[in-house]
Each structure stands twice: as C-alpha cells, then as structure tokens.
Amino acid sequence: MTGRRLVSLAWKSLWMHRLRSLLTLSGIILGVGSVVAMLAIGEGASREAEERFRKLGTSNLLLASVKPPQSDEAGESRSRILRYGLLRKDLEGILETIPEIRRAVPRRDIPVRARFGEREVATKVMGTTAAYADVANLRLVSGRFLTPSDGHARMAVCVLGDAIARKLFLSVDPVGQELRAGKHYYRVIGLLAERGEGTGGTGGMGGESDNAVFIPLETMRERHGDRIRHVTSGSRSYENVQLHRITVEATESSEEVVSRVGAALRSFVSVRHPDGDVRITVPQELIRQAKESKRILSIGLACSGAISLLVGGIGIMNIMLATVVERTREIGIRRALGARRSNIVSQFLAETILLSVTGGLIGLGLGVLVPMLVTWLAGMATVITPFSLILAFSISGLVGIVFGLYPAARAADLDPVEALRRE
C-alpha cells in the first residue's frame, strides 16, 4: 500500500470520528501550544532583561548608596541628620587601591522642583563629571555634555534628559535657556537622547537619565553643601550623603577582569561600609543570572510540556486501543484479504501519527498565537525561536509513534479467525 493511500485512509477514519479525534488531541494541542508559548514568553522576557542590563554597560560595576532602614521612632527623626552612603574618599580609595580600573565616575542626586516659565516639575539634579556621559552611554541630540572646565569654574550649567526637557520646554529648544532648579538657576548647554529605560529589574541603576538635570558635581557641592533636605508631607528631614553613585569602569569587559574588579570592590566596600549602606551591582553578573534563570525556566517548561505531552500520548493510546477493539472485525477482514501484520501496524500507526501531528500543528498555531496576543495585550516582548517550533513538533510526532506502537501491535497480533468471528 502506498504511503499516500495510508495517510488518506487514516485521515478518513479520523475524520469519521472528528469530535472524538479532537478531544483526543486536546492533550497534545495544549502540550505543544504551552511549550511553544511559554518558551516564547520566557525568551522574550529574558532578552528584555538582558538588553536592559547590557545598557548599563558590560564593563561597568555600579556602586550605590543605600539608605539604611530607619529606626523609625516618630518625631525624633525630624531633627536628625541621617548620614550614610558613598564618600568622596571612597572614590579616591577605589582608584588608588584597585587595579584594572579605567575610571570611576561619581554622581550625587538631589530632589528638587525644576521650573521654566510657568511650568514646574519634580525632578532630580544629578551632580557628576564629564566622563559620566561616556560610562552611562548617554547620547546627546544637541549642545554638549559637561566638561571638566565646567566643574573647575563651578559653572551654573546643566544638561537635560529627554523627558524633562519635553515637560518643561514643550516645543521650545531648551539649549541656551535658563531653568530654575530649587533656588538656583542653570543655563541649559545640552539635551540628551531618549533612553526609554524602565526602572524594573535594574533597581534604578540605569540612572533615570530621561528625567534628570545634570550639573557639574563641583557646582552642586558649592551650592548645596553635603546636606540634602527632604520634604515629605509637611515634615522635614536631612540627609548627609556625599555621593549616590560611583560607576566603575573596568579596563576590559571580559568576564575574568570584571569579576576580579567585582571581588576587589566587594572587599573594599565590606571594609569601608560594613553597615550595608553601599550596594554593588554588576550588570555582567545580572546578564549571566538572567541567562541562567532562563535556562532553569526552560527546563521547567520543557518538563511541564513533556508531562502534558505524555498525558496527551496516553490519551491517544487509550483511544487507539478502543479503536482496535471497535475495529477488530475490520482487522480480521483485512487479514483475510491478504494484509500482513506489518500492513495492520502501518495502518494504525499512520492514524496515531497523523492524529498527534495534527495535534502538534494545531498546538503550534496556538503556541504562536498566544505570544502574539500577550505582546499585543500586555505589551510584553515575546520571541518565538525556530528551535522551539521544531522541538515541540517533532516531539508530538514522536509521541504518536511511541504511543501508537502498542495499540498497533495489539491490532496486528489478533488472530484472523478470531477477529472475523467478533461482532
């Protein structure tokens, strides 16, 4: 019998019981569909995370000041000055004691209200140095970034993030304009390109540059001192924080160098800041972790997919065994007319494989559709890899063979005389 005849025969028989076939298939459909969909969602999420971490710079290591948990005795904290975080001498210490560092760039953030004309928005001024644009990967759309001479001369100049520029200046070109931040005026000398960085996952390490007003660190120190005033719902508090961030750039982005610098920084921090008021973030490690968690997720998904395919396979086997019983007489007739055992095996195997492959195809469709819906409805990135399609589909075919063999063998082993006698 030709292969095509075999398939058309199998199709006919499945079509005759299409509802039953479809129900039998649901396991395979859901199994294949969920594997493909979950892998696509997982892959999308992890690529998104990787991309976010990569933006932080693969040769960078980030130190951040962390406010220690407040021993919140109400009323008392009103007058206290909370002192924590990175110090200017930490910056010097890092540059002096740790090898394989190209540079270390400080940053200090002060919350203010920024004003231009009638418009006012809450923002942060960020005091930093000329190298910051480079280590933080900031692009300018117009004007220039801060220069060392801006700092030396304590110039009252600023560079604006994309979002705040739009909020304050609307369609006016901000470069050359003066804005007020807190009590002070700054001339805008540069405008940054949009970064579109989310804050999720990176713990705000991305720098929130879209909403920032960058000024020279020296200018900031001259005007604000080391004390920062926070006003929250009427009550005032003071913090003494010398630096909020230090971005350390290793000489190379290779894993060995970055991890050596990371280890050195960690021991440096554990000596200088044993209270845990400084946190270290290594984007490269985060990328590795994201990859690792994706791998674990994939294994988990593969296992759950395998289980549902197994269940689907058992369902198919169950139906095929029932079919063999139902068609015992047909088997007897075919045997009497000259079918060999192998013909009977092929016939039933063709049916099971066709069944599971059909389920696999419907499942693939579902597995492609669901991520598209997720992207469309939830705005999540999803990535369907060809590998997942091939994997899910070939497994569904394999399920057909594995779970079809036993019923097919049962059918072929029926004694023709017995089978013919059966009603």
Binding site: K12, A336, L337, G338, A339, R340, R341
Partner: protein
Amino acid sequence: MTATDPTAPAPRAPRSTVVAELRGATRIYQMGPTKVRALDGIDIQFLEGSYTAIMGASGSGKSTMLNILGCLDRPTDGQYILAGRDVSDLDDDNLSGERNRRLGFVFQAYNLIPHLTVLENVEVPMEYGGVSPGEARVRATRLAERMGLGDRLDHRPTELSGGQQQRVAIARALANDPVVLLADEPTGNLDSKTGLEILSLLDELHAQGRTLIIVTHDPKVAARADRTIHMLDGKVQRIEERAS
C-alpha cells in the same frame, strides 16, 4: 462469456489438475487439559474448476476445514498443498501472501468494510497485492460492473441491500483472480429469492472454470455443486458425487 470477462479465471493447466489438497490434515484445539480434534486426518483433493459443497452438523469441523483451506489457520498435523506448494508450515507473512494471491473469501455476513465505498472495498486485496492504485481502480470498476453494481460504485455498504453487499463481496473475492473461491454460508443471511441470485452468480463463475468450495447446511444449495463432502466429528463421513 468473452475472454476479457474479469470474473473468468486466468487460463490454467488442464481440468484434472489438483489445485488444493489436504493430506492427513488434523487440527487439534487445546482447551485447557482437554484436546478437541476439530479435524481428524482429512485426505481430500480439489480439482481445478470443481465445485464442492461441504455439509455437516454444527461442530463437525466445516469451519475449521475452510479456515485451513483459506490459509487463515494451519493444520496441527498433516499437510495442505495449495497450487502445488506445501503451505502447512508457512509463516504468517507468507500465509498472508497466499490468501492475497490465491484465495477469495465470501462470508455469510458479507464482511465489507463499512467506511469504504463499493469500489474501495473491491480494491482492498489489490492494495495488499501491490497493484497500482490506477490499475486497481480500473479492475475494481470492471468487476463491480460485472456484478451489476455499476450504479453503486461510490455507495457505502450500509446503503446497499444484502444481495448487493454479497455481490460486492464476490467482486472483492475475485479481485486478485484467486485459484480457489471459498464461501461460508454465502446465502445464510439472504431471503430465498436473493439467495438464488447469488447462487446463480456462483454457478456462472463455476461455468467459467473457477474452483469453488462452499460450506452450507442447505441441501438445495449443495445440490448445485459437483460433489458434497459430508463431515462428522472432524472426519469425512461420505462424499456424494454428481454428474455435472
């Protein structure tokens, strides 16, 4: 009858050739500790073109003999020679081949495959015999037309009367031009008029030179054969010859 009649057997050796022969054929069923000798040392020959009826009480061994003659079963002891070849010890695949090429079956309950059309049913033996789909279609059409089913080719068995179904079964039995046509109570499920039609169809096949073996308990059916073998307890009780 013309020479191209699809129901006529291919020309073979002269009439006195033995096409099927049982030599001391014995079939023992093991039922737990007891042995049932369903066939007990049968010696019998079937000549080319002969028409044989097998009769006997229920349990006398008729079906067992027909199963062995049809290569659906093997003798426990003794030999079965079909078309000059000892097939008693063939394996399952070879027996399937013998059934496919040399034997045609007609059953009491027609035994058509319900989800296949008339043509597809007739094609089944040809598919297993490696006949190309195109040729199978041509041959099946000719056979079905010859059986008077020309306007029923695409019908399913359930849409046919009993007599029509049995005609499909006969067309199917002739699909690979078998050496022997075996029929087990072919009129058992039919009313007497339709039964007679089927019997005259068999007569026609006989007249064309086809070798027929038919199991029946109806003497009127047996009367159409050249000879009747009467079975009793797995043995041939007597053979009744008729001048043809």
